[in-house]
């Protein structure tokens, strides 16, 4: 093994990152902690034993006994976490590989469906068009889910690409609202966007922040029953940009609020209103904001609506 590879084995942070778990679930970190505890306990046992036991042989036996017990316990603990960590890593890798492989046949389906709908190959009757549109819509749902799964697996592997550049967040939001307006109007939802003062540029990955705005705006519109309003505010707040999006939708029940940013979580309220949805959107949003050195939060009241906010540091 080359010296570089040997040194890499000692890079705990890199070793732990590949599992996608917190430091306290990382087997290498736990092994180090257990090692420190064993050494400390051995020294303490020797010091205490020396003070209260006369026979050095008995002291030695006590120290060996305590060390052996602690060693066995630490081996069991780190082995269990090793299995957990490996299972988690394989799950993440599996999702990544499968999602990537699913992209190809889904793209094929998407383009063939679009081709048929266009009537380029043969004229399409109204009835046929109805069914082709169903195919197209469901294909889009699958693609969205695959994209979300891919983003989540990249976040967990620490491989989410981040290519920062200076952008005007105000312009990005205006662009997103323009694209979402037909959907909002069809859902009987009005979108209002206000800024306060001069909004400076921020240094961020524009593709990732687009995902954030997409998810928050899409949720705000989708979870409004019948008719409603989405209010978006953007302003400078000391050294940060402050973004807020408020809707008068179904809201999140109090008991569900602590889980809202967890993967695959969907509150019962949301499920009643809309059965489709992966439960990954807010997890992705939170991960991106935190990776961008920002903060995110929300408040919500069932059947009254929700307000999500985030801050991002200005350059």
């Amino acid at each position: 093994m080359e010296s570089k590879e040997i040194l890499a084995q000692f890079n705990l942070s890199a070793q732990c990152k590949k599992y996608g778990l917190s430091l306290w679930q990382c087997p290498q970190f736990l092994f180090l902690i257990m090692g420190i505890i064993i050494i400390g306990s051995t020294l303490a046992a020797y010091a205490i034993g020396n003070q209260y036991v006369e026979d050095p042989l008995v002291v030695a036996l006590i120290v060996i006994f305590i060390t052996a017990i602690l060693f066995i316990i630490s081996t069991i603990i780190t082995r269990s976490f090793e299995r957990l960590a490996e299972a988690n890593r394989m799950k993440t890798e599996f999702i990544s590989v499968v999602s990537h492989q699913l992209h190809s046949p889904l793209t094929n389906l998407k383009w063939v469906t679009e081709f048929l709908i266009s009537g380029r190959i043969f004229p399409v009757s109204k009835k046929q068009l109805e069914y082709l549109e169903i195919l197209k819509e469901n294909n889009e749902r699958m693609e969205e889910l695959i994209s979300d799964l891919l983003v989540v697996s990249r976040i967990e592997q620490g491989k989410l690409p981040f290519k920062k550049k200076k952008i005007f967040l105000k312009e990005l939001i205006e662009d997103k609202i323009k694209k979402m307006r037909p959907f909002a109007e069809a859902s009987n939802v009005e979108i209002e966007f206000q800024t306060k003062g001069v909004i400076p540029q921020i240094f961020i990955d524009s593709f990732q922040i687009e995902l954030v705005i997409d998810n928050l705006l899409d949720n705000a519109i989708r979870y409004i029953k019948d008719k409603g309003k989405v209010e978006i505010k953007l302003e400078k707040n000391d050294k940060n940009l402050y973004f807020k999006i408020k809707d008068n939708g179904v809201g999140v029940p109090r008991g569900d609020q602590k889980y809202i940013f967890q993967k695959f979580f969907r509150s019962e309220n949301a499920m009643k209103h809309r059965t489709d949805g992966s439960g990954l959107g807010l997890y992705i949003v939170k991960s991106i904001i935190e990776k961008s050195k920002g903060k995110i939060g929300f408040k919500s009241e069932e059947n009254k609506g929700s307000t999500f906010w985030f801050t991002l540091p200005i350059i």
């Binding site: 190809s104 889904l106 793209t107 094929n108 063939v112 081709f115 693609e143 994209s147 690409p161």
Partner: protein
């Protein structure tokens, strides 16, 4: 009539996009692997060179990145614009393809058929 060389191993995409391009009035050369693609890009004397290459990156025999390099190293093919059409989304992949000479990088899953057509029309009119 402009000629487009389409290097893509998915026969469904060859069929669909190929048919659409023909309907748009382009001549389409199809290659299901990188080796055939390179031969069609630089045909023997008398053969017609393509005006544009649509290139997938994950291909049998020779991958798209290697093809890009060979196209740009060849005096006969280095001026032919290449649109990469792939499902690889990594920033590293995009940067590598552009560095190797790709004119545009399109992630198939993110574009509709019409949007891809529009990019092709725009590139050919430049």
């Amino acid at each position: 009539m402009k000629t487009i060389l389409f290097i893509e191993d998915e026969s469904a995409l060859q069929k669909t996009l190929g048919e659409v391009l023909k309907q748009e009035g382009y001549e389409v050369l199809s290659a299901l692997d990188g080796e055939i693609g390179l031969k069609l890009a630089d045909p023997p004397a008398g053969g017609k060179k393509p005006d544009l290459i649509l290139l997938d990156l994950i291909l049998p025999k020779i991958n798209g990145f290697e093809i890009l390099k060979k196209l740009k190293d060849n005096e006969e093919t280095k001026e032919i614009p290449v649109i990469v059409l792939t499902n690889l989304e990594g920033v590293g992949d995009v940067d590598k393809a552009i560095e190797l000479g790709a004119k545009t990088y399109l992630v198939k899953a993110q574009y509709s058929l019409e949007e891809v057509l529009e990019k092709i029309r725009k590139t050919l009119s430049e």
